[in-house]
């Protein structure tokens, strides 16, 4: 592709306190190109976009737009220069009309010329083939149309670059096709499109070029046509295919008892995971593998009854039970460390002490609070055990570092002495030292007879810890790997192709 370059980012660096989010990243976008930006969680995709659109100030590097160096101080400035962005969540006002949404905050003067605005909107919608009337209230449109209105809003000015950050995650197949048709239309007009998604099939369907980031570093730019899915996954997960080393697998001690600790048949939840079967033995560590959005979190949430369970049977130690709420699961000896620490894990303003005792306290009951002394003892015990760095037990958890926050949430569940503990991305966004500590802890717990499910975006971490991998794709279990088959290569093949 020898077409003209419209955007060039060179040597972009960006650090946050304690984290190097981007390190020397280059990125090139050409005219009329659909360019997929790929990488797992924390790879730096959104940081790069935010640096480009002026949400973040970059530490080093330069951005060249149309041959001229530019420096945006705000997303509005980027927009004025022809860079439109559509975010994952639709950031429009549902109670305004389509036209109002397209032009809100855009008019140069303070008075709105309604007829003119509606006519202009109709013209844009028509030219993009969007089936919506300018005077229609936005909430009456389908999600896909709303998404397209957001795109129409972004490109209404002489747009040169359009950034789509996971635009398809809430769309069904038909709606995705409509969106792709629109993207092809824009491409033919010479708009450069940056496309971020977790759906590999979509990347191969629409993109021309793929840039892969990992841990804030540029892995490379590839032509979609010449890069196989398996290669792409190995780039994203950070292991070259040729480099499948003979890792010494730690053999899990397995007491082959006939009854599994936990067994689910046809389990499904309101979060949209397809009915699945799952078992775990005493002292086993298994894991759900798959890319983000493949349904691995939804599956474990269904096990813990964190989402509304819509069907299936659950047996604990061979006995059939009904788990309707997280509390039911907790009382049966299941613990769950959620994926999103900030949103689902910590109670930010509460002290480290309260955060540690929370789950056990709730299990004990509303009318039986622990004495201050007892709570303090519990907290200190686990602060010592897990080496949590905190000034005191009274410190609000939100003022700790990410790794220490995670340890507190881990301590909370260990305190309940669960027989089955689910850890969903326990090592995300925390420093390497703590990561290793947590991995060691998981193996130690399993040795002591606890069953664990361990989920991570980093495949080698899962291979190190798990003795069995359940592979998911598109919200469905596509296969299982254990024993000799449990290698990096097999796992990647299965993630890419879905099944054997």
């Amino acid at each position: 592709m020898q077409s003209e370059i419209i955007l060039k980012m060179e040597g972009i660096c960006k650090s946050f306190p304690g984290v190097r989010a981007l390190h020397n990243v280059d990125f090139v976008l050409r005219k009329g190109e659909i360019h997929a930006l790929m990488g797992e969680n924390g790879a730096g995709k959104s940081t790069l976009i935010k640096v480009l659109t002026g949400v973040y100030e970059k530490d080093a590097g330069q951005t060249i737009l149309d041959g001229r160096p530019v420096h945006f101080k705000s997303p509005q400035e980027a927009l004025n220069m022809g860079i439109g962005t559509v975010f994952q969540e639709i950031m429009l006002c549902p109670n305004l009309t389509v036209a109002e949404n397209m032009f809100i905050g855009r008019s140069r003067n303070n008075f709105v010329q309604w007829t003119k605005m509606n006519a202009k909107a109709a013209q844009i919608l028509d030219s993009l083939g969007i089936q919506a009337s300018p005077t229609q209230e936005l909430s009456s449109c389908s999600i896909a149309v709303q998404q397209m209105v957001a795109i129409a809003r972004a490109i209404d000015m002489d747009c040169k670059i359009l950034i789509l950050d996971e635009p398809t995650s809430s769309l069904d197949d038909d709606e995705v096709n409509k969106l792709f048709a629109l993207m092809r239309e824009l491409k033919s007009r010479g708009v450069g499109i940056i496309f971020i998604t977790h759906f590999l099939d979509q990347v191969y369907e629409i993109s021309d070029t793929i840039t892969v980031l990992r841990n804030g570093k540029l892995i490379g730019e590839y032509q979609t046509a010449t890069l196989s899915q398996i290669e792409l996954i190995s780039h994203m997960m950070g292991k070259a295919l040729s480099d499948v080393s003979e890792m010494k697998k730690q053999e899990q001690p397995k007491s082959r008892s006939s009854v599994p600790v936990f067994e689910a048949t046809g389990l499904s939840s309101a979060a949209g995971v397809r009915p699945f079967n799952f078992t775990i033995e005493k002292g086993e560590v298994n894991g759900f593998a798959g890319l983000l959005g493949s349904g691995r979190s939804e599956s474990v949430r269904a096990i813990f009854a964190a989402d509304k369970v819509t069907g299936g049977e659950v047996k604990i130690n061979g006995k059939q039970v009904k788990l309707k709420t997280p509390l039911d699961a907790m009382k049966k000896g299941i613990g769950y460390l959620p994926e999103d620490r900030k949103h689902d894990g910590i109670i930010g303003e509460l002290s480290v002490r309260d955060n540690i005792i929370l789950a056990l306290q709730v299990m004990k009951g509303f009318f039986k609070p622990f004495s201050r002394k007892q709570a303090e003892e519990f907290a200190n015990q686990y602060i010592k055990k897990l080496d949590i760095r905190t000034p005191s037990t009274n410190t609000p958890i939100e003022s700790l570092s990410g790794g220490n926050q995670q340890k507190v949430v881990l301590a909370r569940w260990l305190l309940t002495h669960p027989m089955y503990l689910i850890l969903d991305e326990p090592t995300r966004g925390i420093d390497v030292g703590t990561k290793v500590e947590i991995q060691k802890l998981v193996l130690k717990l399993a040795e002591d007879g606890m069953s664990l499910t361990f989920i991570s975006s980093e495949i080698d971490e899962m291979l190190r810890v798990c003795s069995r991998l359940i592979v998911m794709k598109d919200r469905e279990i596509v296969g299982e790997l254990s024993g000799k088959n449990l290698t990096e290569q097999d796992a990647m093949h299965m993630i890419a192709q879905g099944g054997k």
Binding site: A306, I347, E349, L350
Partner: protein, 367 residues
């Protein structure tokens, strides 16, 4: 040492209400040094301070409920005065229909009014927790309709509670030097303190208010907790209505506890609580409630024109809220930091400059 630090930390939460309280006391002492004097009339204490404690009774009780509702639901209940009007109307209805008014009659009437309060609280709580209506909108229904319901119950005649016991509850019991509403409020506060000590109410309410998702994943049902706080609010309203109607000696559906939710919300805010929910301090709200009553009486004492009192109060509150706002706090912190830096720089600049600047200033003075 760490205990001392924790104590200081707790005090810093109460900085706003305590400093306002101190400011009001200073103003009052300037006006007249006899502010704290207490006189004995018919065997009971009277004076500025007892009057404030007496006058703020209902507000203190309501602000406790409001604190809990605010912390859990991240919104406010604006129907508390109306709920109080309804519960006190049922109380009056029961007492007036009794053949003979005994202590038992009053007690049963009070308990009935509490049950009515719980039912009305459950109505609000259901709207907020199950139907996810914003608290202020949900409680707007009873705010608008509540007094009409109270009218229907008390028969629009503004009945008079002309019995001995009600009089004692509203004023003083002979032989007891402290006015009864003050005692009832103290008992109520003690009960709340015991409840907070013997249950996990605080942990649950705070968890739900700070992060309902995480609370749910730890086995707390946010719906139940929000519902519970509205039930508690209903009881608080009933107790406040009980005290108010006995104080007044008659049931005036139009004016009883009128617009008291404004003062209750203000008390919560003055107490250093976030109106967006989360961690709460009931102590702060109680001090806030007494502060508001003191402010009202201070303005009266300063002989502010009665028509102008409300605007004076408004101005005072605006100043207070601006001073206590995070924006000003950040600004003050910045100014302090800059001053510190300048000071450090000047010291680092060396002593020569200081000598020059000293001679410079003295020179100017002589001019």
């Amino acid at each position: 040492m760490s205990r001392l630090k924790a104590y200081a930390n707790r005090l810093s939460h109460l900085f706003l209400p305590l400093s306002v309280l101190a400011l009001l006391i200073i103003i009052n002492l300037i006006k007249g040094t006899d502010y704290f004097s207490i006189t004995m009339v018919n065997g009971a204490f009277y004076g500025n301070i007892p009057n404030i404690l007496f006058g703020a009774s209902e507000l203190v009780i309501l602000s406790i409920g409001m604190t809990l509702v605010t912390a859990a639901s991240r919104g406010q209940d604006i129907s508390i005065g109306e709920i109080g009007a309804i519960t006190s109307a049922t109380f009056v209805l029961y007492v007036l229909n009794a053949r003979e008014v005994t202590l038992l009659t009053i007690l049963v009437g009070f308990l009935i009014s509490c049950v009515v309060g719980i039912i009305l609280g459950a109505f609000n709580g259901t709207l907020v927790s199950v139907f996810k209506v914003q608290p202020m909108v949900a409680t707007l229904i009873l705010f608008l309709g509540g007094r009409s319901i109270a009218f229907m119950i008390d028969g629009k005649v503004s009945p008079i509670l002309a019995n001995e016991i009600s009089n004692k509850i509203g004023t003083v019991i002979p032989g007891v030097p402290i006015q009864t509403p003050i005692i009832l409020t103290a008992v109520f506060i003690a009960i709340v303190a015991i409840v907070l000590k013997t249950t996990n109410l605080r942990l649950y309410v705070e968890s739900v208010g700070i992060n309902p998702n995480a609370a749910r994943l730890n086995g707390i049902d946010p719906k139940k907790i929000i519902f519970l706080t509205f039930l508690i609010m209903g009881v608080c309203s009933a107790v406040a209505g009980f005290i108010a109607v006995n104080k007044a000696g008659r049931h005036d559906s139009v004016n009883i506890l009128k617009f008291i939710m404004m003062d209750a919300i203000l008390a919560v805010a003055l107490g250093g609580n976030s109106l967006a929910g989360g961690k709460f301090s009931i102590t702060g709200s109680i001090i806030g409630a007494y502060t508001i009553e003191m402010l009202n009486r201070t303005l009266l004492r300063l002989e502010v024109n009665p028509e102008a009192i409300k605007s004076f109060k408004a101005v005072f509150i605006i100043i207070l809220m601006v001073i206590a706002s995070p924006v000003v706090r950040v600004m003050v912190k910045k100014v302090l930091d800059r001053a510190k830096m300048l000071y450090a720089e000047r010291q680092a600049d060396g002593l020569n400059n200081t000598v020059v600047s000293i001679t410079g200033t003295t020179g100017k003075k002589e001019d």
